[in-house]
Symmetry: C2
Subunit: 497 residues, 2 copies
């Protein structure tokens, strides 16, 4: 009986979360601008009620009473719920409210600072975010490093001491590759990437391929436009992805397929977790492994363009005029050290992340002062990518994360990149999957992902999921090997030097 009541409560909490998600989706895609003020209040109410319901005395009592059920599904739901509940109740309401207010102020200061290229405007707010992060780490608890408590929010169970050697290994083995690529010069005519491609045609082509190649269908998903692309969902039967259209048309196409990867993960989560805390991705890193796999490993592969080149030619004849799949493949895999993380390619992207991870650690430990941050940022940009940001707007102020209190979040992007290749290599041990990928037929691969990753939702800790699916812990090896093989090919370099 108490399990039944608990399930009803969890379903209510889940429904409130889904409604808050719809309020947010609508705000980004459809809401008239004047609606923003009251919409903010409405979202705060829903989130507050969900938090209250989840953390009140009755929920604690029901979790206590539920004991240790033999049913595997119920046991998993209890395990995940108890973990969430313990974390949620460790933060006092006053702390949560203080943090929300400070984030709101920091966000506005960041917008202002970035627009006026004036880091000093943001500096005291970043100081406050770091103070809150340290206090949050103390409240949540940790064994080795306060960073671990923050990272655990996004990548359960992961520690800074595990991230560091993986990142060091990755850096040591890909920086030389990057330097060789840069020295080699252009591998294609990149003017192709800004040839005229009508906005509606971009979206329609990207959406069609999301359905045909990756299985995202209008019966359970839809595509809209928003300033920043994202994926959200209100059940596994109602997935929403957004995209944006630019003159640089790969932004719309690969962005759509990136969000498609996130959406198909949520689609694959088993129905038995419906309306419980288990019904979501295992971690941000595992989620990103799916989006990156679709966007990069699949959609930026030669077999993909051999298959979909004719469809692209139909959708945008001006784009494909005089091209063949091979040339297009080289163009969309341009490696180009640049200042902005979200525009980075497969080879340079992780350096943007490593830089942020290292700076976050130094800031949190107090080894680096906030006022010294811009200089430290620019020095690392020079070291890794050979670039000096001309201003802080295109440097330390480019990302929203720190202004939103998201410290400990960045590493998950690179963890996702690494895991994407590790998972794909494991799946391709099945010859049918490997053959499918070579023909850009992803049905068998998708089935493997559902079986080994998606269906579990949050029921397995990420480390266990990775071990079970790939037979070993997370490692940079497959990713490094993938980069070498792919880009040595594209840039005509000698293997492995």
């Amino acid at each position: 009986m108490s399990m039944e009541e608990l399930r009803r409560r969890l379903a209510q909490v889940s429904d409130l979360g889904a409604a808050a998600g719809l309020l947010s989706w609508d705000q980004e895609t459809h809401m008239p601008e004047e609606g923003a003020r009251v919409r903010g209040l409405q979202m705060a109410t829903l989130e507050g009620l969900a938090h209250e319901l989840f953390t009140d005395a009755r929920t604690a009592e029901l979790l206590e009473r539920a004991g240790d059920p033999s049913d595997e599904t119920e046991a998993a739901i209890l395990r995940v719920t108890r973990r969430d509940h313990a974390k949620a109740t460790r933060l006092p309401t006053e702390f949560v409210e203080e943090a929300a207010r400070a984030r709101n102020e920091a966000h506005h200061a960041w917008l202002d600072a970035r627009q006026n290229d004036h880091f000093a405007t943001f500096a005291p707010h970043l100081e406050k975010m770091l103070d809150l992060a340290r206090r949050q780490a103390d409240l949540l608890g940790y064994e080795e490093h306060p960073y671990d408590a923050l990272l655990d929010e996004y990548e359960p169970g992961m520690r800074a001491s595990q991230v560091e050697p993986v990142f060091a290994d990755l850096r040591g083995r890909t920086l030389p590759l990057l330097r060789r690529i840069v020295a080699a010069g252009n591998a294609a005519d990149y003017g192709v990437l800004t040839r005229p491609f009508a906005p509606e045609a971009q979206k329609a082509f990207a959406w069609r391929v999301a359905g045909e190649a990756f299985g995202l269908k209008p019966e359970f998903a839809r595509q809209d436009e928003s300033a920043h692309p994202f994926q959200t969902n209100f059940s596994r039967d109602d997935l929403r992805i957004t995209t944006r259209v630019e003159a640089y048309w790969p932004a719309c196409l690969f962005g759509t397929w990136h969000e498609t990867g996130h959406a198909m993960y949520e689609r694959g989560v088993s129905e038995r977790w419906e309306r419980t805390p288990v019904s979501a991705g295992a971690s941000l890193g595992v989620h990103e492994s799916q989006s990156r796999m679709f966007e990069n490993l699949l959609a930026r592969s030669l077999p993909f363009w051999e298959r979909y080149f004719p469809l692209l030619a139909e959708a945008a004849p001006e784009v494909t005029a005089g091209l063949d799949p091979q040339t297009l493949y080289r163009a969309v895999n341009r490696v180009n050290p640049s200042l902005i993380r979200v525009e980075a390619d497969e080879v340079t992207y992780n350096f943007h992340v490593m830089l942020r991870f290292e700076l976050e650690l130094a800031l949190l430990e107090g080894r680096l002062g906030v006022n010294e941050l811009p200089e430290a940022w620019n020095a690392k940009m020079g070291e890794y990518l050979g670039l000096t940001p001309p201003d802080d707007a295109r440097g330390v102020l480019q990302d929203i994360h720190w202004s939103a209190g998201l410290i400990g979040y960045f590493p998950t992007y690179t963890l996702g990149n690494l895991l994407s290749v590790q998972l794909l290599e494991a799946a391709k041990k099945d010859p049918a999957i490997a053959a499918g990928v070579e023909r850009a037929e992803y049905g068998p691969l998708l089935a493997w992902l559902v079986e080994n990753v998606h269906q579990h939702g949050r029921s397995l800790p990420p480390a266990e999921l990775i071990e079970r699916a790939t037979g070993r812990p997370l490692t940079a090896d497959p990713y490094v090997a993938y980069l070498h093989e792919k880009y040595e090919g594209i840039y005509g370099l000698k293997a492995g030097v």
Copy 2:
């Protein structure tokens, strides 16, 4: 302090209602079809939590403690909230749940019955709806007639004994007019109404005019498509209207302007009622008076088409070819007795409503058995409109209302029609407003409506609002005079006979 806590609670209830409204809007306009199952659960959760919060012991205590504040705004909020609270707590949870289940079954039976033209499938469910309606009336209480308790849900304070004489008066004075119009034959070439008009152009023209003529702007409103047009809103700064596009293009245009009238009412409700139960229209009848005013009194007037004919010609040259504003005006005011309420014109519409009102009363009192209903329906259709439905699907089964337990709802449509003219006549006593209406410039009229109707929200009982705004109680006189003048003109009839 307790008023502050009460306001916070009411805001939460309002936010939950707005979120449920967005879930519903999204379901009708954007949601992928497979999302329906979980969406239904989510909406039920939000409505349940809102009801719980509004009716729990703490709310009762806060309402008690709030006493009798001197502040006018607080006093009005308390008055409306106490009334709602008393009604909400008079229905036991078991009754509410039984009714929800029965409505769900009745709705499916009705869909089935209508599709197969088989009234007997629906009959036992209608019986159940009537049983629930009688029990609900007893639970809510009434002085004269059980119908009053039901009507009060939609038209607070109104009684069947007040509706009856008004309807009888209306019937007695418009049935002869209708017969003279029918005898006169066509007043224009109605083929115009189905000339080719591209769907996107229909919507764009209707939306443009909603903004230019009626003040509904993209900064605080948006238009979408749905199977059945409706208006909803999540704050006065976030209004949504929907439309549908048909070969009969007036459906999109006048439907859009109808919903615009509803939306502009909500837009005009004062900010001081924000996130309280006062922030809504005074009643369904008053709401409908605004939609009907925009749709019919304004948008089906000659000055309107004299002003907007050039815009229509620009949007749809094929539609206006060879026409002038006068001819178009006659065409869009075609009077044509027909079987279907939602397709009815200004002259015949109220007969559809009167018929339903009379049958509801007879059914509720037991004077008419459910099994005798189809025959009684068809007899009245013959008496009022000279038509015999060829089947029940186009007769007694055409409306969703009874299957949804909405008994006592229909009269508000006609009350809205009557009130629309009564309000417009009152407003036009100001010469600047009258002159504006003659030039299809509605700024002064809108300001009058905000001042006399919109801003009050639910703070005034409808009868008081009507008296204050027009100087007299609701009457059929202005509407009857309006119909005579307009349609004697269009059909070339001798005045007043």
